[in-house]
Symmetry: C2
Subunit: 483 residues, 2 copies
């Protein structure tokens, strides 16, 4: 493909993307294909000689689209949203063209420097403490990770290295393995599985702690666990608090947890993967009260801030605690020049050596939407979830199970969890909507996100109507069976 | 930005990308900026209201480009190459638009299924053993990781879990920590720092082993280490062999290492990050003789196979050994349907839960170049490195230090390593070329990659002429100093 062909094909692709996203309501939200469908549509091996663009492009509709779950359909209410936006796509195109890996300042100065700038911009937007800013000139700063899981892994490994160092100072005869056997990390029972995953990868014990009636991890729960575990000879070292849990969008109490972690010298990490984007609106920041006490804070602009995957923003109060644990020195990498402002070598803060210039898409999004544009986007989506909540409350057959906090509604048919699961299967099998469930007090409930970027009020009403229709048929079927 | 604006801006960006890549020879390969340059060019905070596309777009040349190291300039001879190609960029645009995360089959069937297909296509192209293919219907298969570092981490964690299980069967009273203290992994002293990094992240001991006169790790070296370490009470469990080392593009002896690992029950992983792409040409496959004995094999299409970062292809003889170690169950994820062909849930084979559809760009590249087009690309670049080798051999002041194997030339000025470093600094400071060094027998030598995608014979001559000119001036300066 030469440059002229690329110019033509690129225009076709840009138009295809615009058509796809603007008309996404017309597509069935989840595919009807069976497992293994795609292999039947393509050759067993790569072609020996190159094919024409037209043939490849035509196969997008023939091969790919029949098997796509359309995350940006307004009928998609599953998981948490995945972001896409026109400015982010443009930023990614440029990043792909430059394709210069920014593992050190020298390897691509613009990539490293832009990342420090957009991380400071984001920190300002969220109202994070200034010790997380590069411009503060302390040991703190931010880095773009691939995912919240990677952020949790980085911070737990940093905390583990610190805990081992400190324990060895007291017990020089203990080995790393003996100390690791005693290390214990905490998170709420409602935390995302990436919390438990981080402990698995770091090979330390993880303990899920009970939450209060608002699904929030409180200080008392943590304090009790620390006391029990210390008495059992364990070494508590790390707490992962969640701001906006996956099942119910609940918020752990950072003020209480922070005070305990400071007193007990535990690392406190905040996973705000989904909800962090909402903190650009001051009215939601009460949920991050206490953030000044945390050691690290992470959220995913690729979930709700219109930046395409992958882009997970992680701030550290002391960046050196990660780089010390993970120092990544590759002999062929030229050292940073001494001149000017010292810049981080971002390879020391992630699993990989190489890295894309992910800050480009962030920069494009922040500039083209502006802070107010993004605030408006978040508020609109929260409004849609609240609108949905009202619709649920108007139908006696249903009940809200958790008050809508941001863009997630947790509700159920007034029936057993098992009945709710059957109704959900019915709805999902209809391919008219796509929903997932959560567990609450041992019972399955509906979990409805309002987060696809083009969703509007009419879409919310449309989705609710489908749920009502399916519920009517479902209840009729249940009642017929009983007869 | 609405759809019409995106259509216009997208065309501008596509044209910009084509212009950038086609005229990249005109840009200074490394930037002249000082650290901290970028922050001075942008506001301290994100704009309150959205800006016009024209202003954002204009800042690409004003803010970004002055600080870019142009990896695709034919004057770029550092590190190993980073791939970019027009078909890959088009694939990424589509993937960004769909933006559906393929962590399970249900979450995006097309993403999961296309990945199984392109991994099989790549395995066929490289001539890998059939037990790595999904179509073989065994426990093997492939997965796209973000980097070779992540592939090493996944495999060492899989091997560690297996070793702990097996050791516990013999010593039920030993704790995980006590066993981990005894685990030891091996790699060659010439291995990439990601090998040592993987041991750091997995918290096991790593040992670099000496290589032969061709920088190759041989069986005798491994056998001796295993014997020594077992005698010292350690538990050898994992070997990372390199196909195409970073400093010299050397190849570890897989036949010898494979036989030992099978006899001694060690996991053998092959990191062919750079050189793996060359195995699509049968004439280079003698370097992977013995691959039928390895447990896992990884290479980076994002280095040399024209697929944009990130795309690191990892094959496993038994995928369950990774998923068992890392099982990633998120309650809100709907289980795979039972019907049809069983598909992997790719979240079990990586650090993150979320994942982009990276197979799209692979599919576009393989189809639009075809196997022969990609073979031609590899052979051209190997030819350029060999052409460079001949030029070096014609100048008595220089000598080749390692025969050119693929696209890397290791040479030096006939002088001390220290003098070579000073000459290299002079060349890099001129901003006319960008080179890095390697160490050989304790001395610094030049490391010259021919790998930017547009490099041609005239470019190689041009670069060599610059090196000669700078050497002449350098030697004159040295000689003047002595007077």
């Amino acid at each position: 493909m030469d440059a002229d062909e690329f110019r033509r094909a690129g225009r076709e692709m840009i138009d295809y993307v615009a058509d796809y996203l603007e008309n996404i309501r017309d597509r069935q939200v989840t595919p009807s294909v069976q497992q293994g469908y795609l292999r039947k549509l393509v050759p067993e091996k790569a072609p020996q000689t190159g094919e024409a663009w037209e043939d490849v492009f035509a196969d997008v509709e023939r091969v790919i689209m029949p098997g796509v779950t359309h995350w940006h359909s307004p009928r998609f209410h599953s998981y948490f949203p995945s972001a896409t936006s026109y400015p982010a796509i443009l930023g990614d195109i440029l990043s792909d063209a430059i394709s210069g890996l920014g593992f050190s300042w020298t390897s691509n100065p613009a990539s490293t420097e832009l990342e420090t700038v957009v991380m400071d911009w984001l920190a300002h937007m969220l109202g994070l403490p200034e010790h997380f800013l590069f411009s503060f000139k302390g040991p703190g700063g931010g880095v773009i990770e691939g995912s919240a899981s990677e952020a949790s892994l980085m911070t737990i490994l940093g905390a583990k290295a610190k805990a081992i160092r400190e324990t060895k100072a007291k017990h020089p005869d203990w080995t790393d393995g003996q100390i690791t056997d005693k290390l214990i990390a905490y998170y709420s029972e409602q935390a995302h599985s990436s919390a438990q995953r981080a402990t698995t990868l770091a090979h330390v014990t993880g303990r899920g702690l009970p939450t209060d009636e608002e699904q929030s991890l409180r200080g008392s729960s943590l304090a009790q666990a620390i006391e029990e575990d210390r008495a059992a000879g364990l070494i508590p070292f790390y707490v992962l608090a969640t701001s906006g849990t996956t099942p119910h969008c609940a918020f752990d109490n950072l003020t209480e947890l922070g005070a305990i972690c400071q007193a007990e010298e535990l690392w406190l990490h905040v996973d705000a993967a989904y909800a962090g984007s909402a903190f650009i609106c001051p009215e939601f920041r009460h949920w991050m009260a206490g953030v000044e006490c945390v050691d690290s804070f992470n959220f995913n602009p690729h979930k709700w801030l219109l930046v395409n995957f992958d882009c997970s923003a992680l701030w550290l109060k002391d960046m050196s605690l990660i780089s010390q644990a993970l120092d990544y020195n590759c002999p062929i990498i030229r050292p940073n020049p001494d001149s000017g402002e010292a810049m981080p070598d971002f390879r020391h803060y992630q699993v990989a050596l190489g890295r894309r210039c992910r800050s480009m898409k962030v920069w494009f999004v922040l500039r083209m939407y502006g802070v107010e544009g993004l605030q408006k986007y978040i508020r609109t989506q929260v409004g849609l979830a609240k609108e949905f909540e009202k619709l649920v409350q108007l139908d006696d057959r249903f009940e809200m199970m958790v008050p809508v906090r941001l863009g997630l509604a947790c509700f159920r048919l007034k029936a057993s969890g098992e009945a709710n699961m059957r109704l959900m299967k019915r709805i999902n099998d209809s391919k008219r909507l796509f929903l997932t469930h959560a567990m609450l007090n041992g019972q399955a409930i509906f979990r409805f996100t309002a987060g696809a970027s083009r969703t509007n009020s009419a879409d919310i009403h449309h989705s609710w109507k489908i749920i009502q229709e399916e519920a009517t048929d479902f209840l009729k079927g249940e009642s017929d069976q009983k007869k």
